[in-house]
């Protein structure tokens, strides 16, 4: 049962990802990304990470992608223009992609000790997850939060027009 679900949603995830690249309408690409995010959430759920799955749907599919579609709708972005691509890209691009894939594949095959994930009925409860997050991993967790805060402040500073009183620049 788990395997069937895994195959279905992994296939959906990959189809969404490929579709994202080949669609010409920006809004269709954004919607494909939502499909990828939600299928990933189901895959997390199959691995027993229920909180992660819910967070994936709420944060990525529900909030971040809404902003994506919001911007696409606001700018009313039209169809992408597509060039045939230069010869240099074709001659360098395909070997480069093949090389990167080869490196990743060999490192995955070589490196067996990076832990394993099994698809079974085991579920990591939210309490267990937060216990680890707020004891063992407290420092990285808090540092990440500060990092996000800095990013927010930076974007506000960049987006802000004018001086401290809100006057327009002359």
């Amino acid at each position: 049962m788990h395997l069937i679900l895994f195959i279905i949603f992994a296939a959906l995830c990959l189809t969404g990802a490929v579709n994202l690249l080949f669609q010409k309408q920006p809004i269709n690409s954004a919607l494909s990304l939502i499909v990828v995010m939600t299928s990933l959430a189901v895959l997390y759920l199959l691995l027993g990470a229920e909180f992660l799955a819910a967070a994936q749907v709420i944060v990525y599919a529900g909030a971040i992608m809404v902003l994506f579609t919001f911007v696409v709708m606001l700018l009313n972005a039209g169809r992408e223009e597509r060039t045939l691509g230069s010869r240099a890209y074709r001659t360098v691009g395909f070997p480069a992609v093949a090389a990167i894939l080869a490196v990743i594949a060999t490192s995955f095959i070589k490196l067996q000790g990076f832990g394993s994930a099994r698809i079974d009925d085991h579920i990591t409860s939210t309490a267990d997850l937060s216990a680890v997050l707020f004891t063992k991993l407290l420092l990285p967790f808090e540092v990440t939060s500060v990092l996000i805060l800095v990013a927010i402040l930076g974007s506000v500073a960049l987006a802000r027009k004018g001086d401290a009183e809100g006057r327009e620049p002359k």
Binding site: I27, L31, I34, T38, E50, F51, A54, A55, V57, I58, A61, G62, A63, V66, L67, T69, F70, V72, M73, L74, N76, I123, S125, T126, A127
Partner: protein, 349 residues
């Protein structure tokens, strides 16, 4: 219980709950029209059937039979997909809501009063609600109409802003019960009737107030119904929709209202537990014992729906900047303060 039996029982539950929910949606529309009518000193629908009780069925038939117009300039795939997303998301989230006492089970520990008992039930509801935005957003964009687009832009911005306050307002309740499972959250409020509800005994009335405001905004209801403000945007995101597609948006809105009522009941009003606690004796008869919790649940949700209609009939619409200010500058800080307060109290106790 074999897999086949489990499957058949589950399908049966899904069918029964969906039919009841759709009927409830239809009659919530009637309830709203009747109550708003009385608030405005008129009768409301009273011609079809006794007291207008058959009005929802006639409305439904009318929606089915009307001509379905698809304007030529729309972006067809998304135009057709949008009402389906809106309605299905509105209907799915009822699947994790427990309606009755989970202590009464069938063979093989089978839950009668809940379609799926999920560990993270609360998060599932929040997740599905956040996906539901796409129905409205895509409807407005694909209609290729300026009013629709403005409506859906407003709605996306409003939903993203108020979802934050909504989520934060529920954290206090989750802290108190220590679980995201809806059954457990109800069980922690069941000891002394209304006194141990999160709203009263749990001192979560600030959270309840924030939840109420945010929920009104989330379901696009007055006084936060800016995405469909008739005086400014014709009908907002569903301007270009007709016939059954329009009805699907309409049904989604009312189904969302019912879900929000269910969540408020579960989280703040003790779910299916009796408000009198142990003052009333527990009935011996198994039928009464399983129906009584459902009665209390439905009663509380009904009260919540009446509150919804009352607010709609009383308050004028917000202005857009007021809406954003209110959400970000008042509700969100208040929700954070509530979390800090609740945590301190729980740590001190």
């Amino acid at each position: 219980m074999t897999i086949l039996q489990f499957f058949l029982w589950s399908v049966l539950k899904v069918i029964v709950v969906t039919v009841v929910l759709l009927l409830a949606v239809a009659y919530t529309v009637l309830l709203e029209r009747k109550l708003v009518g009385r608030i405005q000193n008129r009768w409301g629908p009273n011609r079809v059937g006794p007291f207008g009780l058959l009005q929802p069925l006639v409305d439904g038939a009318k929606s089915f039979l009307k001509e379905d117009i698809i304007p030529t300039a729309v972006y067809r795939p998304l135009y057709l997909l949008a009402p389906i997303i809106a309605l299905s998301c509105a209907l799915i989230s009822i699947g994790v809501v427990p309606f009755g006492d989970p202590g009464i089970t069938g063979p093989g520990n089978f839950h009668f009063f809940q379609i799926a008992d999920v560990n993270i039930g609360l998060l599932v509801i929040l997740g599905i609600t956040s996906i539901g935005v796409y129905g409205i957003a895509l409807a407005g964009w694909s209609s290729n109409n300026k009013y629709s687009l403005l409506g859906s832009l407003r709605s996306s911005a409003q939903l993203v802003s108020y979802e934050l306050a909504l989520g934060l307002s529920l954290v206090g309740v989750v802290l108190r019960s220590g679980s995201l499972n809806l059954d457990t959250i109800v069980a922690t409020q069941s000891t002394h009737g209304a006194l141990s509800w999160n709203l009263f005994g749990g001192f979560q009335f600030i959270a309840f107030f924030i939840y109420l405001m945010a929920a009104f905004a989330e379901t696009n209801r007055a006084p936060f119904d800016l995405p469909e403000a008739e005086s400014e945007l014709t009908a907002g995101y569903h301007t270009e929709y007709s016939s059954m597609k329009f009805a699907m948006f309409f049904m989604a809105e009312y189904a969302n209202m019912i879900t929000v009522g269910c969540v408020a009941t579960l989280l703040f009003l003790g779910g299916w537990t009796s408000p009198f606690g142990n003052l009333l004796p527990t009935p011996d008869n198994i039928v009464i014992r399983s129906l009584l919790p459902m009665f209390w649940f439905v009663f509380k949700v009904f009260g919540f729906l009446c509150l919804y209609v009352w607010v709609r009939g009383t308050l004028p619409r917000f202005r857009y900047d007021q809406l954003m200010n209110y959400g970000w500058r008042w509700l969100m800080p208040l929700a954070i303060l509530n979390i800090v307060g609740t945590s301190l109290w729980l740590a001190y106790r």
